[in-house]
Symmetry: C2
Subunit: 141 residues, 2 copies
DNA sequence: TTATTTATGCAACAATATTGCATAATCAAG
DNA sequence: CTTGATTATGCAATATTGTTGCATAAATAA
């Protein structure tokens, strides 16, 4: 669990203003061991925050390199905190994601790099997303 | 462009009833060189079809192994036609997808297999999705 | 042709997301 | 600490995407 100082420092280093909503959202995402949907974040930060503000906060964080989207086979967008070196200029999240079909959590496997592929001519890749689905560590007997 | 016979045969071989909506949706997906969202399919088959029927048709097709979902970094679900060997029993779509940041189309790169990764202990993967983003063949100068 | 099964369309609803605008909060300057 | 410029927030209204129940129409099998 990161200290309040850590939260403030992170906001400052990404040139973002300190606000209660931003601190709460960032805290929630840093505390979670798996990616969270907008709804799940909403639940965790309490019902007194406007959903619109939350969406705008998530967009700001994503643009600033604080969090990254986690693709899902469903139509729900999830977010997870980024590695320390991500910035507004560029994201460096080259890890695979794992979705458990039992507990439905999506984990960032930060230690597993996305392997490169050879593309057909004239296709030039800039970013990659790799999502595995199966049974996670917690749900394996 | 597949002939009407091809469409009918495909429906029959997957044990699905012949209906105008199903033929239209399948035709549209087979004709497209990239994955389509529900809205895009709706536009192509004409406004006289109910959106609810379209969603149910897409679900039926997915369950029957006629089409597969294409994950996107956005919150929109897209569909593309499956390879010939997919069935209600199992899908065999092991190819990567490529999203163009210029034209926004998502292509099935059927010739590029998804590379395997080594997972941490007690993670057991059943399915994989690999999405690249960059500039596609059509948009490369 | 008739009977059975299944797909469709409508209504109503739910969940997720976006925009404009007035107000409140943040932060930098003095 | 106070002031003023800038930016975030909250509300209202709206858009988009997807779902469920149910009566009717259509497709297939007998
Ligand atoms: Mn991640
Ligand atoms: Mn595909
Ligand atoms: Zn699990
Ligand atoms: Zn393109």
């Amino acid at each position: 669990m990161p200290s309040p100082d850590r939260i403030s420092q992170t906001l400052t280093s990404h040139e973002l203003r300190q606000t209660p909503v931003r601190r709460a959202v960032l805290q929630v995402l840093l505390d979670s061991s798996y990616a969270l949907s907008g709804h799940e974040i909403e639940e965790r930060i309490g019902a007194d925050t406007d959903r619109i503000t939350l969406y705008r906060t998530l967009k700001t964080f994503e643009d600033s390199g604080l969090i990254h989207r986690v693709v899902d086979t469903s139509d729900i967008v999830r977010y997870a905190s980024c590695s320390i070196e991500c910035s507004a200029h560029e994201h460096f999240d080259n890890h695979v994601h794992f979705k458990c079909t039992n507990c439905h959590h999506i984990y960032c496997l930060n230690q597993v790099a996305i392997p490169a592929v050879t593309l057909p001519a004239k296709f030039e890749a800039k970013t990659r997303d790799y999502l595995l689905a199966g049974v996670c560590r917690e749900c394996t007997p």
